[in-house]
Symmetry: C3
Subunit: 292 residues, 3 copies
């Protein structure tokens, strides 16, 4: 998988800027002149970069952020030409059931990335800037002054975005991060816009240095894809523990603990993950014929 | 469906008072002389009015409340003759599995109502006054002085009511709305009893004026009936977005946004909803022979 | 089931001390010289005592706690010999899929106990001391000074423990009970170590005196094993209500309420539970051949 290592700065992205620093990739939304709306090729580039980070063994954490001087973190869908209802030409011929929302496609790419993902929300956010660009992340750091809204029902449309989203979606209200209706979503609320990304970066670096890549991937799997019963959970986590406990990273975890030092984990998803992982069915629904 | 429009004031209800004002229906529990217990024909009248509101295109929001001078919002089941264990005579002959709890029947009618539902809890609440008359609503406004309790295990019985209910059900404790064990349930906690309904009404009117009836119904569907996986969610919300984005309400949502004005949504569930909606199986379990 | 009543003090436990007082069993972790690590026969003794309490009609509440002078409530897995990856010799031959994590086995025993379960966490907790020894309980009381952590990804391993666990599992951070990331887990946060158990005990005694054993078991069942849809929930809770409402405890619940006195419930799981309960499939996954 990692035979040809991508040079993130040289991938020719137009609407994002991606940089690898140590084992942390930072992705900056680069559409400030369009108020960082979700439009153009932003969707395709985000899908691409999260898929690359998923496969690149050098990467342990991915941060999505914006310029803190931009008008917004993401001000929602680009409505210049109305709702973006074209995904593939073939899907149009197939019928309405073959439509794939581009926000949902981005969400899936982020959720399927086996590395730790962090959103550093250093500006206002609306619509898909709340759903696809926040909800699928493992951790969210936010500017205290951000105005946040899921305005879908006030625009005659329904949200994409994956469950657990609160009934804020039904009211379309504008709230602050410290609102009781949304504060649980955020790992940390930060007073100034310019401090959001550095805080997230420091958090990312500490995690990148001291966590096992394979243990993180398995733990994300257990959190996102638990079994259908407590017994099935038990069979899944027992197997994960057996595999990891017998691995080099599992031994290093014990050894560093006994020697009271920080761990040095060398395991990677390419060489140290069992064929059993992922244990759930991963369906590529981007093709217009895919049905479940 | 909406060929004959109901005159809510002339439906002959005995234990509720229903009024249509603009596109907001207010339902007042009218059993103050019985401490607003859940008894008599209250269950059947509540089921009836929520089913009517579901079908009546004029209605966008339904509020349930009580007189703020009543002894309680709802003080629980009427225990004069013990637990209400008779639903239909036929079900008695069929056996215990054919029993249908009346609180559960009311809950289903509220949850199946495709309009925005609000509970304005301006007094104390216990038992079924917590479960059926609060949990199924989209938004709950509550008086700060309300005493709230799920006393089931202290009365030798189990709760009806649909999941997500906290372990307050296991202790049967009496709590205030600002208790950490229950405060998340409430959209707003209001200092005085008399202000609860006006606050809920103002909230309802703003939503009624500025949200799309069809978008609300689809969004409620996505929140209550998500898919079994993130891929299935994506297929569902993509289709909802395609349908709504191509509709008159979808266009008006974009247009009003561009013109920086409030929207005027004209779409209704009778004429503008796709046969695809609802996408989940709706089972009428009120018949005693119905099995799943 | 309850034909031979266990004498908890005479069961020969080595690493726990169990005491029956009225209808409350207290289980004290007794490995202070090993910093209360999860090792030795602690797993087997915990499984045994929770299975006994499940069947013993005299027991209404079970509390797990530690000496408040111990180095920790539970400081995690005993790592003296690395990760504990041996469950049964046969399972080793069968293959990695036959491994059963011992923390998971303890979790299942606690979750399957039909009585009210309380963890009184009067010291620090890490790893399996957070997962198996806290998450499966109905109520958790905690010392405000406790240092709490899920360090799995920092030890090269994945957590056992059953869902709902937060993304603290992904960061492995050390937090205090009042951290916004974990405070919801706790019923009450208590200033001093020595007051944690007495507070939990008083709470347990009040519940033991005033709740119905059968109603508690059915309510736990409805919370842990709801139906797959709101209709299925309704059929389940209707049946539970019919059964309980017709029972002696159901009558006593109504009678004591009318007479404004505390209830005296005499129903027990051995003699008053319907063969319909439990309505879900209980799978014993401790055998190495068990598959789902």
């Amino acid at each position: 998988m990692s035979t040809s290592l991508p040079d993130y700065g040289a991938l020719g992205y137009k609407e994002i800027i991606a940089t690898l620093d140590g084992s942390v990739v930072t992705v900056v939304i680069n559409r400030a002149k369009y108020r960082n709306t979700f439009g153009g090729v932003l969707d395709k580039e985000l899908i691409n970069v999260f898929q690359l980070c998923d496969r690149d063994d050098r990467v342990r954490v991915v941060i999505l952020t914006a310029e803190h001087t931009a008008p917004a973190y993401c001000s929602g869908a680009d409505l210049t030409n109305g709702w973006n209802l074209l995904w593939l030409e073939e899907s149009e011929k197939e019928g309405e059931h073959a439509h794939r929302d581009s926000g949902g496609q981005v969400s899936l790419a982020i959720m399927n990335c086996r590395k730790i993902t962090i959103a550093a929300i250093n500006g206002h956010a609306a619509g898909v800037g709340m759903t696809a660009l926040q909800l699928p992340f493992d951790f969210r750091f936010v500017w205290a002054g951000a105005r946040l809204t899921f305005p879908f029902v006030r625009r005659g449309i329904a949200p994409e975005g994956h469950s657990k989203a609160s009934y804020l979606m039904l009211s379309g209200a504008v709230v602050s991060p410290d609102s009781k209706h949304i504060s649980d979503l955020y790992h940390e609320i930060i007073p100034t816009r310019e401090a959001v990304y550095p805080t997230a970066k420091a958090f990312a670096e500490e995690l990148a240095a001291n966590t096992s890549q394979v243990a993180v991937a398995y733990t994300k799997g257990l959190l996102q894809h638990p079994g259908d019963s407590i017994e099935e959970n038990h069979l899944l986590d027992s197997r994960a523990i057996k595999l990891l406990g017998s691995s080099a990273d599992g031994h290093e975890g014990v050894q560093s603990f006994k020697e009271r030092r920080l761990p040095k984990f060398t395991g990677t998803l390419s060489k140290d993950s069992s064929p059993w992982f992922p244990w759930w069915k991963r369906v590529d629904v981007s093709h217009y014929k895919t049905k479940l």
